[in-house]
């Protein structure tokens, strides 16, 4: 679908009369069109909508093509199609779920688990991704990081939910404090409400920090390589700490060159080559 795009031709000089107030401000003149401001805005919005629609239409076509490849058993082609969409930034839970399925069919369980995890990172209540993740883990015998008890309790809400709660509580608390500052009489209820809101804010911020740095936080990565060994030092000849099947979870603690230091399942820590694992959060 093609949309005409109006290109501004030159800068119109300022005019007198009612437009005196805009004197000195350069204004765009549309060639051969004496349009009003409203019409120009409408055209601009239409253009934006058109470009967006065209982009969506293109991505829909690529998505449909990848789905078709998958249905016909051309899993590698399907993987390539889905990956192209991921590279284009068309991220959504269903795309990662489908990509995970395509990798599963190619028996690349590490990347299948990685993409199921990404689908769940975007939509933590994605039932299909949850189910297939379990199956992929069973197939690959992947190891998992055990969240602490505190993390398990905190996971009843997501980081974004905690963030919103923190913001709302913060502003309520601040409004309450400002109202108290100007009030002639100090209201005990208002004081209590303000303190409560600020406490809720603090707890929510702490929860965000714990979850973000926890076993399923931003450091979470999935082993995608085969026969990966976590080692005591940054050398292939260093002693092995743990053998990590594909799809195993690790938490990246730091990186040094081609190696990263990670928390491993079983409360271990070791060095892994960066090419052997990918972070869940893009």
């Amino acid at each position: 679908m093609n949309f005409p795009i109006v290109i501004p031709s030159e800068v119109e000089e300022s005019r007198g009369g009612t437009q005196d107030q805009f004197r000195g401000v350069p204004r765009l003149r549309f060639a051969s069109l004496g349009m009003t401001a409203n019409r120009r805005l409408a055209i601009f919005l239409c253009s934006v909508f058109g470009i967006a629609s065209a982009a969506f239409a293109q991505s829909d076509a690529e998505f449909a093509k990848a789905n078709q490849d998958f249905a016909q058993g051309h899993f590698k082609e399907a993987v390539a199609g889905y990956e192209a969409l991921v590279r284009a930034g068309e991220w959504n839970a269903n795309l990662f779920y489908d990509l995970g399925n395509a990798y599963f069919r190619t028996r690349d369980f590490g990347r299948a688990i990685l993409n199921y995890e990404r689908a769940l990172a975007l939509d933590r209540h994605h039932p299909e991704a949850t189910a297939n993740l379990h199956i992929a883990r069973d197939e690959s015998r992947a190891l998992e990081l055990q969240p602490t008890r505190l993390e398990r309790y905190l996971q009843f809400a997501s980081i974004n939910q905690y963030t919103i709660a923190a913001a709302v509580a913060f502003w309520l608390g601040i409004f309450g404090m400002v109202a108290l500052a100007f009030a002639r009489r100090r209201s005990a209820a208002l004081i209590s409400l303000s303190i409560l809101c600020l406490l809720v804010c603090a707890v929510a911020v702490w929860a965000v920090h714990k979850l973000d740095n926890g076993s399923e936080g931003r450091g979470l990565a999935i082993v995608t390589g085969q026969d990966v060994q976590a080692r005591l030092a940054t050398a292939d000849t260093a002693n092995s700490v743990l053998a990590l099947p594909p799809g195993s979870e690790i938490k990246i603690l730091s990186t040094r060159g081609d190696w990263m230091y990670a928390a491993l399942p079983n409360d271990l820590r070791g060095w892994i080559q960066t090419k052997n694992a990918e972070q869940v959060r893009l």
């Binding site: 829909d60 789905n67 269903n94 199956i135 069973d138 015998r141 400002v178 100007f182 743990l242 271990l268």
Partner: protein, 619 residues
Amino acid sequence: MFQRISIALLIAAACIDFARADSPSVTAVLSNSEATVGETVELQIKVTGPGDARPPEEISIDGLEIRSTGTSRQFEIHNFATSSSVTYNYTILPLRAGRFTIPPQTVRAGGKILRTPELALNVADAPGQQTTTRPGRGAQSAQSQATGARDLVFAELIVPKKTAYVGEIVPVQIKMGFDARVHPRLTEPPDITGQGFTSQKLQQSSQNLETINGRPFEVVTFKTAIAAARAGKFEIGPVKAKAQVVVPRRRNAPRGRSPFDLFDLDDPFSDPFFSNPFAQFGERRDIQISSEPVALEVKPLPPNAPPSFSGAIGSFTIATDAKPKSVQVGDPITVTTAISGRGNFDRVNAPLLEDDRGWHKYPPSSKFKQDDEVGISGTKTFEMVVSPNENKQSLPVLAFSYFDPAKEQYVTLHSEPTAITVQGGATAPAVAAQQPASSPATAPRGRAPVPTKPQDILYQLTEPSRTVASFEPFYARRGFLLAQSLPLAALLVFAGWKIRRARLDDREARRIGALQHEAAELMHKLRRDDASPREYYAEASRVVQLKAALASRNRGLDPNVVDAETAAETFKLDTDSRERLRSLFEQNDEWQYSGTHNGPGRISPENRRDVLELIENLK
């Protein structure tokens, strides 16, 4: 009855003990029965019993120079039994080689004459001189002060084996001796130099006082272990360390012999500094200590190592346990294997399953508990989770191989066969929940039981999504941060509105205050009788206007526009009061505007009282 017998027995035992303690005895020991010429040996004669013992007379033996170095007394109370002892110390310096006999010495103690046993001392010729830097006569001939400082310390590297295999752990001891009077301080710990071997972390094992060449030395013992990395002949060491010691300052005047320098060994402590610390200050000096190197021949491991050999060298035993022993197909079983013994535990890997068909195994975890200071003796425990894929009657046999340097051959240990019960077909609903707590967390949580047919993944989702999601949490998104400007703006508006309102309230309050102040001043003037009628009525009217403005606070009434009717309305006056108020305002107008007045030049007290009463009643 029984109690009396017990008491009697206790008393009898105490008496026997006392009698035994009362009977003096004597022993004599040599610190070493073998020595070389110039190497000193300690002789101790210990008298146990009553305290009035007399030491033996001077011991004189041809070829040996024996000097008394002091007496020490000990008093002990042990289980209500007391004992005391006196020890006479001697230092023997062999002057020539040969076999010497120290004859029994006579000691008087508790009124008795006791005799020490006869002692033998074999003295060999000195082979050149001491190999280590232990202080000795030959080494002491150095003249410089630095040499003297070095004579106050020594280092010795003790390697118990002359040959070893590649990778074999060889325990090593390092002894560092410091003359007790130099207040030594180790600035750099000992380091074993050399190439072709790895050494473990050095551990300080003990620190004790020894007498060497008649001088007390603080001897610190370090322990470590080395392992050769390749075959060949190596030189281990020398051990090098740095220390600070206190030595006397250089002096030009000749000095006398130290009481410690029994045999005129040119002891640096013959300096008066040590006999009288105030005679001259000592100086702290850095010295380097080094030992002699030790040769070690390293042999390669023999070929044809068994498949389960991972490089372990030493002597080990294996013990295995498994839990639970009754499972469903697919359930996890934790197999715990303990490998104990002595050797290079860093190369001890988990034992292998000899036949893993029908089993799925997970990577093992391990932990090591060392029994010694350097970690060459202990127990390494492996936990491995295995799960049967089919019906089995026993766990697979585990094999662990190592090289025994004593037997000079490879040894393979096998675990005892462990019977288990595996029920196939039926699936356990909650496998992860049944997992033992001690099992490693490597097994997948919530793992589904192994079905006969592998599970398949769910369908594709072909519905395209219109929304593009982000992995970035809200707090890191620009939109979220921009959205915070809305409540911030609202807060600023709210605060501004509150501030404006407060200011308005403040202005009104000031206006009211000013009106009240003016009304009070005018009332004060009205109560005085020195005002002219023109002033009086003007002030009275003004007070009425002020009071009316104050009374109508909410309406913001300007006092200048208040007339009689407005004031009467404001105070809701009755007809009489309204008339009086009107009359007051008229009189004021007359005085203000007519220029003359029909009445008297002064206001009568009745009129004044009447006006005041009217004004005061305006509320």
